[in-house]
Symmetry: C2
Subunit: 188 residues, 2 copies
DNA sequence: AAAAATATCTTGACAATGTAAAGATTGGTG
DNA sequence: CACCAATCTTTACATTGTCAAGATATTTTT
């Protein structure tokens, strides 16, 4: 084996190298050629696995989103009620990005997210963290036996998400204290 | 006059051309050389006015922020109370970016914003839209004669801003309906 | 007004990058 | 073993940001 051909699992290695570069230097410092070099393959090798840079970036984003999801799910499981789950997930949402501000820009700057507020249908292609939030919010409404107009439910869901997402955004952009009294984020 | 030298007001022309390109094609399609070409000058001409690409982008951002501020101020003046002003400004905040989603990414993706929640001091370097919001929120507290703990005031300000900013973010990323019942954004 | 200094612009060059094309190497399949 | 498809390399080219040297216009100085 000439040792250069057939890396073994180049696809995953490229993704991991990409995550690392974004962590250390930010997205603007990431280039296809650097990622390839980090994996010790030629600069055009990535094209066997990704159509173009955009496709590699999408794969890296998926990878980061998985980590994000895993933390959200952990938070959800730790909670003993749907209400508490929403609170924990909100805190996790903000702290995840406060701890890695680069991820926030990276995930949300260019990526188009899919998200449907409609409460009576499921959309498997929706942004996974949003799906989890929506499910938990539904549980919460059931748990508390809250009867709301259809449109108010949508508005309530959007309110929670936008509050939390906005808080994360501002925390990342300003470095502002995130030790916020979380009672203010509460659902009402 | 050899007609090529001394454009007249190249600096502003470069900024305007940059805004136009971002409007039409998005930030990733913007290059120094294209901006220069749009102004019919050589590819290195911008370096007489801007240290590097980053500095031109900063100038373009300032220009867009000015438009944003002008709309916010218009909304604020239209209102007949501070409470209504916050509502109007919130609606304007969201609709401005809903109408130009490219601006949202452009303004907030790379730019570090400065913002101080402290209610008893003024920070002239804070992000102008935030300064306006903070002032209006102060007026609102006075207007309604609301007495709050210092920390609660900060939290209230942050809550309004993050709600509105988060809503704008989600509107831009998802294209979700922004015809939200604005009562939900209200201040309490 | 002539000369000198400065600001503004052009030309030419270079390195980094994304990407396409052609070919080399390898592992698997019939 | 022969063949094929997947994977990787090499070569090539256009785009881009940036720098350096020089040209031209404007401003300032004398």
């Amino acid at each position: 084996m000439s040792d250069n051909y057939h890396h073994g699992n180049l696809r995953q290695a490229l993704i991991d190298a990409g995550v690392k570069i974004i962590n250390e230097d930010g997205e603007d410092k990431l280039s296809l050629r650097k990622v390839a070099a980090a994996c010790e393959v030629s600069h055009a090798a990535p094209y066997a696995h990704f159509k173009d840079k955009e496709e590699l970036l999408a794969a890296i984003k998926s990878s980061v989103t998985e980590r994000f999801m895993s933390e959200l799910e952990k938070a959800e499981k730790k909670a003993q009620s749907a209400e508490q789950a929403i609170l924990f997930m909100g805190q996790t949402y903000v702290s995840f990005f406060s701890n890695n501000p680069d991820y926030f820009k990276f995930l949300f700057a260019s990526q188009k997210l899919v998200a449907h507020l409609e409460m009576d249908k499921e959309y498997p292609d929706d942004y996974p963290p949003f799906i989890l939030l929506k499910q938990t919010y539904k549980k919460y409404l059931k748990e508390k036996d809250i009867k709301m107009d259809y449109k108010d439910q949508e508005a309530g869901l959007l309110k929670i998400w936008s509050s939390v997402h906005g808080l994360a955004a501002i925390a990342c952009m300003t470095g502002v204290e995130t030790s916020v009294d979380w009672n203010h984020i509460e659902l009402n």
